[in-house]
Amino acid sequence: MRIVFEKRQEVSRTIRVLVPVLSLVFALIFGAVLLLLSGVNPLVAYAAMAQGAFGDVHALAETLVKAIPLMLTGLGVSIAFRMLFWNIGAEGQLAMGGLAATWVALYASRSLPGWSVVPAAILLGMIAGALWAAIPAVLRAYLQVNETITTLMMNYIAILLVSHMYHGPWRDPEGYGFPGTARFPEVAWLPRIYDRAHAGLFLALIAAAILWFVLQRTKWGFELRITGENPKAARYIGINIPRLILVAMLVSGGLCGLAGVCEVTGVMRRLQQGLTVGYGYTAIIVAWMSQLNPWGVLLVGFLLAGLLVGGDQIQMAMGLPAAMGLVLQGALLFPMLGGSLFAEYKLRIVRSEPQDAVLSHESVAKEAK
């Protein structure tokens, strides 16, 4: 008896839904073992996590605060991934978006009418993210420079540049030496919905809707899907691939930049440490788990945010070591990612080795006579 992997002929809708759900169940069991080993009742811990992430309006709001940047960067990354452009640079594009929005909020807001400050911050932040993404895009599209390396390296530049700005030139003179800019004027605040949850949620929803429509219903989206699925065919039917890469990356970087805008104008309301906490990297997981589907990005982004918030909660509520929250997050993610294997392949148990079915010696010998 042995077990073989077989590629599925067609991945059905049921499987697409079932696999992540079963993966989640398995992940929870796996996490439960870890929790038991550290002497905690897993049911209590999971209840605390769920409570902490989705239990009441405050918890939900806090989960949304983390979900919004994950959704926006997840959307951004997924459109680049569709083009087989491995944009690892969402973090840096987010940082540049935050930086541009900060400039608008702190400096340009004085000479702008109040109503236009937030839109200007959004616009400029998106442009900044897009331009930051355009550099590796141009290098890749026209000079075949590997984008995974350039986008990753540009993250460090952007993160350090932001850090330099709030430690140095833009530091709040009345901030008692704390690193960080002055608080933004009220005109530059992104409206909040409840607690710290802000209107960035609507921006994410709108962005997902537009992306879905563009991908499914427009010529440009059609070209994007063709190029992502089969670049050779794209060239053959006359698609200008370099230009498509460039535009896709502008969109991708723009969305990541928007995430940065939301962080500084909606959550922190100043530029300080904590803008680049890894949303741009988690976005890669979000994109893959959602299979690059815009609506899926929203859902996965929300659930992952719940995992982040819930993990923090049990640290505090159950007195677990800080690392336990992260370990648990990893333990939950792993089966989820591994589960995608079963979406593509199925297991088949082969009851007998082939030679068991082979005709017996005698019968063949008889035949040979």
Binding site: K219, E229, N230, K232, P354, A357, V364, A368
Partner: protein, 530 residues
């Protein structure tokens, strides 16, 4: 028991069954092979020929069935087991290391070699084997210096060096010129005379008649018949292979020739390795005419098609389509100038496997205003368009929303043709349009090409199948080492003369078929260049 056969088979496969997910590739196949014979294994694509042979040489394990070699029941678990039993295969894609010499390739993988093998004995034995079977190859030559035909000889030598008794050849003639095919027949004859046996896989009836002593026909994974070659006919074999009567005659009517649609002048272009692939190619194709390009693979045909369709830049020369200069333009400009293209790589280039049939059919038409309002596409119109084409071209698909990768090879090609022919505005470049297709689909494709010609399209047909070129084209141009070495009207064309030109020789008379070395020599240079 009476001796019904004078000899026992040296190989016997009984009830071989092999399943792949969703496919029964081999369904209780029986096969016998006798000493001293060449057995043809005939069948359409997907009939299960390669699967059966891969079972025999240890690459696949059968789900059911038994194999006996020299009367002993054997269990072949790997190619090495197969070698130990005296079974060896020449695969369609040669398994040679290009940067090593012939002798090194031959000993590669042999067990019990010293750290630095003594190649002197190897070379001596290779020369002896070459002498014995007519397989002369320089043991010190590097593989990259050899022509495709010579590389095939190395593969066969590899098997003979290992004292293989049963040689399996997977579509050995696909890459050869007619003269090289003759050589191969000769070699096989000598090999089997020494008490060995050979199985060769093919889907070409002509080769069955030419090569084999017996023929086993597979259809849909089943063994449908075994015949002595002398007691059968191509017509019967075709019927067995396809399961119905096959028309060998296409209606080809005379066509009114129009003006020049494609004109290329003095094209010079490089191949992917940066070496000259086209050396001054000039050619005109007029409306209502099919010009066939014959040649052994790698003599510039691919590059010529790519240059015309905008996929490759030229170093020098001009391309005109419908009087538009499209030299070094983008593929989009070529399409707009009226170029349709049935590409060589059907799946890799012609289609997007994970997208639907409807989307694939609209891969070019989506730009037109018929399918879009501004930037927004019109999915229902795309669907209707697809349904029309599926009906019109008789594409077998569960529906327009099916992902295209689930269609069979013939239907994939029909889908490409449907798309390219409906969009065709003057010139069709068809590259190996029937390669790998079964007899039925081949017939359809050739028919479509002829119909397109009648509608006044200029067709440039690149093919390795000389029969196809003779049947379909109006003129045949032969390419060798990036040049057009001859161009003849089909009715005056002589298949032997074309074969000589493909090998780089100018035909003198049909008697001069005794292949002189210079042809092979220049091929060697070509191999080095490509």
């Amino acid at each position: 028991m009476t001796e019904s056969r004078t000899r026992d088979p040296i190989l016997r496969m009984r009830g071989i069954t092999k399943r792949f997910p969703g496919v029964l590739a081999n369904d209780h196949i029986d096969l016998k092979l006798f000493e001293g014979e060449v057995l043809a294994l005939l069948g359409e694509n997907g009939a299960g020929k390669s699967t059966l042979m891969n079972v025999l040489c240890g690459l696949y394990r059968p789900d059911e069935g038994a194999i006996t070699v020299q009367g002993d029941l054997v269990d072949i678990q790997s190619p090495r087991d197969a070698y130990d039993l005296g079974i060896g295969m020449v695969h369609q894609n040669f398994m040679l290391v290009e940067t090593m010499t012939v002798a090194e390739n031959v000993v590669l993988g042999l067990q019990g070699l010293s750290f630095q093998p003594e190649l002197r004995h190897v070379k001596r034995r290779l020369e002896a084997l070459g002498e014995q079977y007519g397989l002369q190859v320089d043991p010190d030559a590097y593989i990259w210096q050899l022509s495709v035909g010579e590389q095939q000889r190395v593969e066969i030598l590899k098997l003979l060096y290992r004292d293989v008794d049963i040689l399996i050849l997977d579509e050995p003639t696909a890459v050869l010129t007619p003269q090289e095919v003759d050589d191969l027949v000769e070699v096989l004859r000598r090999v089997v005379k020494e008490g060995k046996a050979a199985i060769f896989i093919t889907h070409k009836l002509r080769e069955v008649m030419m090569f084999s002593d017996r023929v086993t026909v597979l259809r849909g994974g089943k063994n449908v018949a075994t015949r002595s070659t002398s007691e059968t006919s191509p017509e019967e074999l075709a019927r067995l292979m396809v399961g119905r009567e096959v028309l060998f005659q296409l209606d080809k009517t005379a066509c009114e020739l129009g003006g020049a649609v494609l004109e290329v002048e003095d094209l010079e272009a490089l191949n992917d390795k940066g070496l000259p692939a086209l050396r001054g190619v000039s050619l005109t194709v007029r409306a209502g005419e099919i010009v066939g390009i014959a040649g052994v693979a790698g003599n510039g045909q691919r590059e010529l098609a790519e240059v015309i369709t905008g996929l490759r830049d030229v170093v020098d020369g001009e391309v005109y389509v419908n009087d538009n200069c499209i030299t070094n333009c983008s593929p989009l400009r070529a399409i707009q100038a009226g170029v349709s293209h049935v590409p060589e790589d059907r799946v890799e280039m012609g289609l997007v496997g994970d997208m639907s049939v409807a989307e694939n059919l609209a891969l070019k038409a989506y730009r037109t205003s018929e399918f879009s309002r501004g930037p927004v596409l019109h999915p229902t119109r795309m669907r209707f368009f697809a349904e029309d084409l599926i009906d019109g071209f008789d594409i077998a698909t569960p529906g327009p929303e099916t992902r295209v990768k689930f269609l069979s090879g013939g239907n994939l090609q029909k889908a490409i043709l449907a798309r390219e022919l409906t969009a065709c505005e003057g010139l069709l470049v068809a590259v190996h349009p029937t390669r790998g297709l079964d007899v039925g689909a081949t017939e359809t494709v050739r028919d479509l090409l002829l119909k397109q010609r009648e509608e006044g399209t200029a067709v440039l047909l690149i093919s390795e199948d000389l029969d196809e070129l003779m049947e379909v084209s109006d003129r045949i141009a032969v390419m060798f080492e990036g040049e057009i070495v001859g161009i003849v009207p089909t009715e005056e064309a002589d298949i032997d003369a074309i074969g000589l030109m493909m090998a780089g020789e100018q035909p003198r008379s049909s008697k001069s078929r005794s292949r002189s070395r210079s042809g092979t020599q220049s091929q060697t240079q070509e191999g080095a260049a490509g």
